[in-house]
């Protein structure tokens, strides 16, 4: 059974991180990330062709994370962009068979923004529908209503966007995902604590666990890149200026992330750290914020 789920259900604060499978078959760099992050995290998200760019499949890479041991579990990601309902269900069955117990279901970025812009986006299902299908596989039934020879037992997560307006629509969407079977949410990077707090408040009655995203804004260049290229995220001026004015941007980014984690820890069920390659900073952030690390 998913220890990640058990930890959240027990009401303990969790830390999740993120690793990217390689653009190819050599996953030594990813394993190095896992080596650094696993001791600090309860679970590691393994992204699925992130940014609509080609990477080793999340399925294989999640298995690598699982096998690396140390008590940190993978969160297998599934995007709706690349597969139809047969392939999605088949991959979910495969994931469960391989021992992957946590899944995060996302829509996926539009292919036109990725490295294969001429490809056909599939989007046979949307993320709410795929959450519902995953819940159904957990009940031992496929999308067609047929009984499976052995179902799954996934801990099912979805993405949550507390800062994107109109907020009411985001809440309606989140409730739809919960109704479909989402038991935890991981959010986009939080830059406005008040908006996050009202989101948690609104969803609290459902019992869903909410893990707040924290992005390490390593440099002014990273901030610019996010604001210009990443959909669904905007770094506000006061934060951008703080990084831009800093003598040592990385140190400032660590200080900022530490403050954010400290504040979010009061409200969220966990944090999801995205260090953008600066894996060594994660331990410092957690220590600075007084967050105990699970597997160190």
């Amino acid at each position: 059974m998913s220890r990640f789920r058990d930890t959240l259900v027990r009401g303990e604060f969790v830390v999740t991180g993120e690793v990217a499978p390689p653009h190819g078959t050599d996953y030594s760099a990813m394993r190095e990330s896992v080596r650094k992050l696993a001791p600090l995290c309860h679970a590691l998200n393994v992204t699925d062709n992130q940014g609509a760019t080609l990477h080793l499949s999340s399925l294989a890479a999640s298995k690598v994370v699982l096998d690396s041991g140390g008590g940190c579990e993978p969160i297998f990601q599934q995007t709706c962009r690349d597969r139809n309902r047969l392939a999605l269900q088949s991959d979910l069955l495969a994931a469960w068979t391989l021992g992957l117990e946590n899944v995060l279901v996302v829509t996926g970025d539009d292919p036109r923004g990725g490295d294969h812009p001429k490809c056909k986006g599939v989007f046979d299902l949307d993320s709410t529908q795929l959450i519902e299908v995953t819940a159904s596989l957990n009940a031992g039934i496929d999308m067609n209503g047929s009984k499976l020879d052995g179902g799954t037992g996934f801990y099912i997560g979805g993405a949550l966007f507390p800062e994107a307006e109109p907020w009411e629509i985001q809440m309606e969407r989140a409730l739809g995902k919960i109704e479909a079977g989402a038991e935890f949410f991981q959010t986009q990077a939080i830059t406005d604590i008040d908006k996050f707090a009202r989101t948690v408040e609104a969803l609290r009655p459902t019992g869903v666990k909410i893990i707040a995203g924290v992005l390490l804004l390593k440099s002014p260049r990273v901030v610019r890149f996010i604001n210009e290229n990443l959909a669904g995220l905007m770094i506000p001026d006061h934060i951008a200026d703080r990084i831009a004015r800093a003598e040592k941007p990385l140190e400032e980014a660590i200080a900022l992330a530490t403050e954010q984690v400290r504040e979010l820890a009061q409200i969220a069920d966990g944090i999801h750290i995205m260090p953008l390659g600066a894996d060594d900073a994660v331990g410092r952030i957690l220590e600075g914020a007084g967050i105990p690390t699970p597997n160190a």
Partner: protein, 224 residues
């Protein structure tokens, strides 16, 4: 209406060269391609000039009434039988359906002169937008008359996706997110959506579609 756009001229020239055509007959379409300004008389004449500038002879030309209408197109072709006789190939400035109708009406090589791009709504003169993909399983009843299958670039039934920001679409950033629009229009009408829309039934759009109103037996010849 079927919206078409001009096809890359190099491809057309290569097609004609492939069959060694020296003389070409040009066929336009009086309906969609005329409204799209891609296959009406002015465009047919422009194609004629381009062909001639490239050293081809133009045996003749016509703008048929409706290129995708088999009976009408056969009549049109018969009318120009003499000129067609002199041509080595036919270039059709219509949608792909029209090209196929012409190809069915004559034994000579027939080539598309346009690209068919979408079923378009005429927003105003010369402005066309895709609003329907003819999916065979319409959800407009649930979506306040706004089609997410077509107007959400990802075709999501339940949105918005994570890329929506300030009500704007992730992909077409100058446009409102379809799902925000749907939500607003439903709210304006005092309606809410109960639950998520179920996955689409893509079998409703099995290819190739066919309707035969002359069928008397069975279900009455609905789309399949």
């Amino acid at each position: 209406m079927i919206i078409t756009k001009p096809r890359d001229w190099n491809r057309i020239r290569a097609n004609l060269a492939e069959v060694g055509a020296r003389s070409v007959f040009i066929m336009g379409c009086g309906q969609c391609a005329t409204t799209s300004k891609t296959g009406g008389e002015p465009e047919v004449l422009a194609a004629k000039a381009t062909l001639e500038a490239d050293g081809f002879a133009v045996a003749g030309w016509a703008v048929g009434e409706v290129a995708c209408h088999l009976g009408g197109t056969r009549l049109d072709m018969r009318k120009h039988a003499g000129l067609l006789e002199a041509a080595d190939a036919v270039l059709v400035l219509s949608c792909g359906a029209g090209v196929q109708t012409v190809a069915e009406s004559i034994a000579k090589p027939v080539f598309p002169g346009l690209e068919s791009v979408f079923l378009g709504n005429v927003i105003r003169h010369g402005v066309f937008e895709e609003r329907c993909q003819m999916c065979g399983d319409c959800v407009l009843d649930k979506t306040a008359g706004i089609c997410p299958v077509t107007t959400c670039p990802k075709g999501l039934l339940n949105g918005p996706c994570g890329g929506m920001w300030d009500g704007k679409c992730e992909v077409l950033t100058d446009r409102e997110c379809t799902h925000v629009k749907i939500h607003r229009r439903l709210a304006e009408q005092g309606r809410t959506r109960s639950g998520a829309l179920a996955p689409k039934d893509y079998s409703a759009k099995l290819k190739p579609g066919s309707v035969n109103l002359r069928e008397t037996k069975g279900s009455g010849g609905g789309p399949r």
